[in-house]
C-alpha cells in the first residue's frame, strides 16, 4: 500500500517538475523571441525552415482537406436534401472546415510531419552533444534553435489551415455541383452569406495557438530526450501524442470561449 502511495507521489512530483521545466523553457524562448523579431539573423534562420515545413506538409494537407471535404459533403447530402436544404450544403462543409477541421487537421499534420522531425533533429543534436557545443561556444541554444522553429510553425500553421479550407471547400463543391447536380451559384451564394470574418478569425486563432504549442512541445521533447537511439525514438512518439492531445483540448477551450464571446457581442447566428 505504501508502495502505491509512494509511486503516486513520485509520479506527481515528476509531473509537476516536468511542467515547471516546460514553463521555464517557454519563458526562455519568449525572452529571446521578442528582441529576435527585429533581428535579421532570426529571419535568416527561419526562412529555410519555412521551405522545409512547406515541402513536408502542403501536399498532405491538400490531400487531407480534399478527402475530408468530399466525405463531409457525401455524408450530409442525403439528410439535407430530405429536409430541402441541399442548396445550403456548402455552409455545413465550409463552416466545419474553417472553424474546426481546418485548424485541427493542419495542427495534426504539423505535429506528425514536422513536430516529430523537429524532436528527432534536436534530440539527435542533444545526444551527439551539438546542443552543449552551442552553449560552450557562448551561443544560447534556445535562441539559435528554438526561436526560428517556433516562428516557422507559428506562422506556417495558418497557411496550412488556409490550404486545407480551400481544398475541402472545392471538394464539397465538386460533390454538390458535379455529382449531385446542385447549381453552382446558390452553393457559393449561401457560403458567402453564412461565412463571416469572425469564422475565419476563429480558425486562424486556433491554428496559431496549435502551431506555437506544437513547436514548443517538439523542441522541449528534443532538448530533454534521454540518450541513445531509443531515447530519441521515445521522445518523438511522446512529442506527437502530447501535441495531438494538446490540439484537441485547446480546440475545445478556444472554441467554447470564442463562441461564448461571439454570442455576447453579436447574439445568436442562424446558419440556415
Amino acid at each position: 500500500m505504501i508502495n502505491v502511495f509512494s509511486a503516486i507521489g513520485a509520479r506527481t512530483t515528476s509531473s509537476i517538475s516536468a511542467f515547471g521545466q516546460g514553463a521555464m523553457f517557454c519563458w526562455q524562448m519568449l525572452r529571446w523571441l521578442i528582441p529576435g523579431l527585429v533581428q535579421r539573423r532570426t529571419w535568416a534562420r527561419t526562412m529555410p525552415l519555412f521551405f522545409e515545413i512547406g515541402n513536408r506538409t502542403l501536399p498532405v494537407i491538400i490531400i487531407t482537406g480534399t478527402f475530408v471535404g468530399l466525405v463531409l459533403a457525401i455524408q450530409s447530402f442525403d439528410q439535407l436534401s430530405a429536409a430541402g436544404f441541399e442548396n445550403h450544403m456548402g455552409i455545413l462543409v465550409t463552416v466545419t472546415l474553417v472553424q474546426e477541421l481546418g485548424p485541427v487537421l493542419a495542427g495534426v499534420m504539423l505535429a506528425g510531419r514536422v513536430g516529430g522531425a523537429l524532436t528527432a533533429e534536436l534530440g539527435t543534436m542533444r545526444v551527439t552533444e551539438q546542443i552543449s557545443a552551442l552553449s560552450v561556444m557562448g551561443t544560447d541554444p534556445i535562441r539559435q534553435l528554438v526561436v526560428p522553429r517556433f516562428l516557422a510553425c507559428l506562422l506556417f500553421a495558418p497557411l496550412l489551415t488556409f490550404f486545407c479550407d480551400v481544398a475541402g471547400s472545392l471538394a464539397g463543391w465538386f460533390v454538390a455541383v458535379m455529382m449531385k447536380g446542385i447549381p453552382s451559384g446558390p452553393y457559393w451564394y449561401h457560403i458567402q452569406s453564412a461565412i463571416e470574418g469572425w469564422d475565419v478569425m476563429v480558425g486562424f486563432t486556433k491554428s496559431i495557438v496549435f502551431g506555437g504549442a506544437i513547436a514548443m512541445i517538439a523542441c522541449y521533447k528534443g532538448f530533454h530526450c534521454r540518450t541513445g537511439a531509443e531515447g530519441v525514438g521515445k521522445a518523438c512518439t511522446e512529442s506527437f501524442v502530447i501535441s495531438f492531445i494538446t490540439i484537441l483540448i485547446t480546440d475545445f477551450f478556444i472554441g467554447t470561449f470564442l463562441s461564448g464571446l461571439y454570442r455576447g457581442l453579436f447574439g445568436f447566428k442562424s446558419l440556415i
Binding site: 539527435t124 543534436m125 551527439t128 552533444e129 551539438q130 552543449s132 557545443a133 552553449s135 560552450v136 561556444m137 557562448g138 551561443t139 544560447d140
Partner: protein, 265 residues
C-alpha cells in the same frame, strides 16, 4: 586536498566541488587548480565523472556545492548571458566531436568566429583556412561532417575549438574510438597547439599511452575524489594499487575474486 604547486594565479580553480545525479555521487568534494600553459590529464575509470569535471569548468553543469573560478572570478553562479564573454575564452573538444550536421566543415569552424567577432566574409574564410591548416584539414572546407572519418571529425572539431584563440582547451576523451595511428595524430596535435599557441589544456582520457605522451601533470579520479596528483613519471611508480591497476590496464584483485567466485558457483 590536492593542489598544484603554483606561485601564480591559477587559470581555473575548483574548490570543494560536489555533484550527484540522483543517488549517484559523482564528485565528492574535489579541489583542482590549473596553471597557465600546463597540460593536465584526468584519468579514471569509465563513468568515474571525468567529463563531469570538464562540464563544470565550462559551466555546462553547476556544482551542487562548491565553487569554480576563472582567473579568481567565480563563474559557477553566473547567468548564461554573463558567461558568454568567459566561455569564448575556452575551447571544448567533445568526445563525439559534436560537429553541426547541418553545416559544412567551413561553416562549423566559422560558427564561433561569426558569433564572436565582426569579421567580414573574406576575413572569416581566411581564419577558417588558417585554423583548418593547423590541424591538417585545409581543403576540406566544403565537405559535410557525415563524409569525414572519425579522426578527421576530431581534427575539424579541434579547428573549431581553437577558432577564437582560446586560453584553455578542454579535451573530452580525444583519442577514444580512433585507431592507434589516428589517436597518435591527435596526441601530436595537442602537443603542437600547446607549443604554438601556448594554451592551457585539460585532457580527460583512459588512454594511458596518450596520457604519458601529452601530460605535464596527471590526476586520477576515483569514487568522486582525486587519489593521485603527479607527473607522468610518478604515475608509473606509484604504490597505490588502485592507480597501478588502472595504469597497467588490469582489473583489481576484488574483481578477480568476484569473477572466479562466480565461475565456481
Amino acid at each position: 586536498m590536492i593542489q598544484s604547486s603554483s606561485n601564480h594565479e591559477p587559470l581555473i580553480k575548483l574548490v570543494d566541488v560536489h555533484k550527484r545525479f540522483d543517488d549517484l555521487v559523482v564528485l565528492d568534494g574535489i579541489d583542482l587548480e590549473l596553471k597557465t600553459g600546463e597540460t593536465t590529464v584526468v584519468i579514471g575509470e569509465s563513468g568515474a565523472g571525468k567529463s563531469v569535471i570538464l562540464k563544470h569548468i565550462v559551466r555546462l553543469l553547476k556544482p551542487d556545492r562548491g565553487e569554480v573560478y576563472y582567473r579568481s572570478r567565480r563563474i559557477d553562479n553566473l547567468s548564461d548571458r554573463a558567461l558568454v564573454s568567459i566561455r569564448h575564452r575556452f575551447g571544448f573538444l567533445f568526445q563525439l566531436s559534436a560537429l553541426f550536421d547541418s553545416m559544412t566543415v567551413a561553416d562549423n569552424v566559422a560558427f564561433p568566429i561569426v558569433e564572436h567577432s565582426q569579421k567580414n566574409k573574406s576575413e572569416v574564410a581566411d581564419a577558417v583556412a588558417e585554423k583548418l591548416a593547423m590541424v591538417g584539414m585545409d581543403g576540406f572546407q566544403h565537405r559535410w561532417p557525415a563524409d569525414l572519418s572519425g579522426g578527421q571529425k576530431k581534427r575539424v572539431a579541434l579547428a573549431r575549438a581553437i577558432a577564437v584563440d582560446p586560453e584553455l582547451i578542454l579535451y573530452d576523451e580525444p583519442t577514444t574510438g580512433l585507431d592507434p595511428p589516428r589517436a597518435d595524430e591527435i596526441n601530436e596535435l595537442i602537443l603542437k597547439l600547446k607549443h604554438e599557441l601556448g594554451v592551457t589544456s585539460v585532457v580527460v582520457t583512459h588512454d594511458m599511452a596518450s596520457a604519458q605522451k601529452i601530460a605535464d601533470r596527471i590526476v586520477m579520479l576515483y569514487k568522486g575524489k582525486f587519489i593521485f596528483d603527479g607527473t607522468a613519471e610518478a604515475v608509473m611508480n606509484t604504490d597505490d594499487p588502485r592507480v597501478r591497476c588502472f595504469v597497467e590496464g588490469r582489473c583489481s584483485d576484488e574483481v578477480l575474486e568476484t569473477l572466479h567466485g562466480k565461475q565456481k558457483a
